[in-house]
Symmetry: none
Subunit: 205 residues, 4 copies
Amino acid sequence: MSTLVRTKKDVVTEFRTSEILEAARKIFAKKGFHDATVDDIANAAGVAKGTVYLYYRSKQEVYIAALKFGISQMYSALIEEVARYSTAEEKLKALIAAKLAYFDENSDFFKIYLSELGKLHTHPGTIDSEFKALYIEQARLIEAILKEGIRKKAIRSLRPDQTAFAISDIIRGVVTHRLMGWSKTRIAQDVDFIFDLIWKGIAAP
Amino acid sequence: MSTLVRTKKDVVTEFRTSEILEAARKIFAKKGFHDATVDDIANAAGVAKGTVYLYYRSKQEVYIAALKFGISQMYSALIEEVARYSTAEEKLKALIAAKLAYFDENSDFFKIYLSELGKLHTHPGTIDSEFKALYIEQARLIEAILKEGIRKKAIRSLRPDQTAFAISDIIRGVVTHRLMGWSKTRIAQDVDFIFDLIWKGIAAP
Amino acid sequence: MSTLVRTKKDVVTEFRTSEILEAARKIFAKKGFHDATVDDIANAAGVAKGTVYLYYRSKQEVYIAALKFGISQMYSALIEEVARYSTAEEKLKALIAAKLAYFDENSDFFKIYLSELGKLHTHPGTIDSEFKALYIEQARLIEAILKEGIRKKAIRSLRPDQTAFAISDIIRGVVTHRLMGWSKTRIAQDVDFIFDLIWKGIAAP
Amino acid sequence: MSTLVRTKKDVVTEFRTSEILEAARKIFAKKGFHDATVDDIANAAGVAKGTVYLYYRSKQEVYIAALKFGISQMYSALIEEVARYSTAEEKLKALIAAKLAYFDENSDFFKIYLSELGKLHTHPGTIDSEFKALYIEQARLIEAILKEGIRKKAIRSLRPDQTAFAISDIIRGVVTHRLMGWSKTRIAQDVDFIFDLIWKGIAAP
DNA sequence: AATGAATGAGACTTCATTCAT
DNA sequence: TATGAATGAAGTCTCATTCAT
């Protein structure tokens, strides 16, 4: 029952939570973890500093929550997009396209995502494992596509896990270039390039 | 003249400089930029805090210098290694092998390198352009190999700059996995995997 | 009239008041004034934080009220006990025994009491005078016994007020030792010791 | 050697230390532990806030140090004073007189001392044991006098430790009254009163 | 009357940078 | 040139109090 009945408190909590998370995403993206202050976030969210601490125990917790929030949003979007196609080839291309599009539209979020990814090694043990799980989950999506492709002989025999990470990395790289303004080409063109490179690399002979 | 005659002052300066940089690399790698203190670095370098400020104007400047120091070291090593081979295929494989080996042997440095790469977007304008240049210079190395391969018809026709970045990203990804302990395989095996994937992707038909 | 007719409101008020006071006593005793939060007290009392402020204007006010509440309880107990004896000697011994017993049974309350006594000087003007009155009232009880003893020649001629405080202090000291676990002897033994010392000191020759 | 040669650093350290301790004593006495801010102390000491942390790791540490500083000062004074007399009777009277005088002259310090004594029970485990030791050491001084008196038959047979605490408590009580302005009499008179009461209570028949 | 979410002042502590020696 | 004591700005987090419901 309690899961069906949303009390008013639940509504407020959800509202505040997303309000704060949205603000945090923006601020962290702009300033990075250390240079962002809790005050910044509170202001951006339109609440007082103390209010932030009503919903999160520390600045770190806000950070992680903002990260997860965005990642799971993206993850859902990808899943949905991929599901619309049937062959491994189509699925892979769709995933690349969706990810590039998502990051283009949510560049602020992308900034924290990448920054965190880069820091993963530096301070293992802190945010580490939580984030690692989310990161790996992403790769699993690609891995699943690869496995299916291999089973159907569309893709040559290779280690799906390792390859999944490699593909993930290429995408990340291109996304980075786009975001930094190093790549001036249109999305479609980048998608084609990545896909072409990868597909040539993995397609069955 | 001043480049020929090294005064005692120059010697001391160079000695202090490398001492500090070596220490900084270690400390930044262990703690990250914000959690590393100037005191930490000074202690590790065996000098007083004030002395650090005699050679660098700020903590940031030490950071950048340490970064450059390490990158140029690696760059030289790569150049040298690549020069030992003649075909694009061999050169590419040698480069991959050398980079993986280098990072395995200098994992502490690698940590700052990657962390910084991840932050590039977050604080554009700060360290940004200096580092971007160094990053791009790395890619140029691969680009040169690709161009030569294309000219000699060993590699199919594709945009060398874009592809160079893609290759760079895959390598970076694998290095990351190795460092985080996600990849338990030996270097040689990872080299083979990467090279195989890439070469299939770029080789002329 | 209002003292005869107890409206429902009065009943509720009294109930809430004692509920809160009882909780406050416990919490303040455990954590001290500053480390106890209004939330702690509200929770322990089973009411919401805001409710506390319906009955008391500030945390301080709760504190003082809790103090008074406990002291007057003890005072009543002492009066009653002393009244059961007739000679000064018996009364004094009874008072000592009763006080030691009371504190042994209400060690939590005792903690705030002592703590406050110790702070009296530190922040004169705050709680000061209110509490001072309660403290002195305690001493008056002893003073009355002394005066009667002097009148009946059982006690030698000495300043009753000053002596009353001295006796009060000795008792307080022993109570402290008991509470801190420094004194392992049974109550009866401590009572005998204190009484013996005092009585030798004040008895008529 | 190093104990003989006082470097300049030692001198500065000692100067700063006592400067800060003197200021801390004053501020803590006026405001109590919680209401005193580190800024208050720094200002009173004529240094910046950060400087305080150069010599003490936390506010608490400053507090404890200030406490010890004062107590050991007083302890030395008492030892010296007591040593000037030979009989237990004289020694005891001298000790009472000296303690009353000391507190009259250092009423600010006395305030923290008493306040801490009162809090001993409230938060056992924090400052507790350190302070307890200092407190007990004080009582030992009285205990030693009592033991000697008992051996020489000047004092009747009683438990020296328990009695020492009792005497200590009486003195503390009188000191309190004096400090709060409740006792308007001159020191000498209070000394006589306390001594008379105690001596009658403990003297051999 | 009762609640508890929201507020925001304020405290401790850290550390990059300066500067007198 | 080298030192390291001193500075003080700035950041995180707590909690007494308020007030709309």
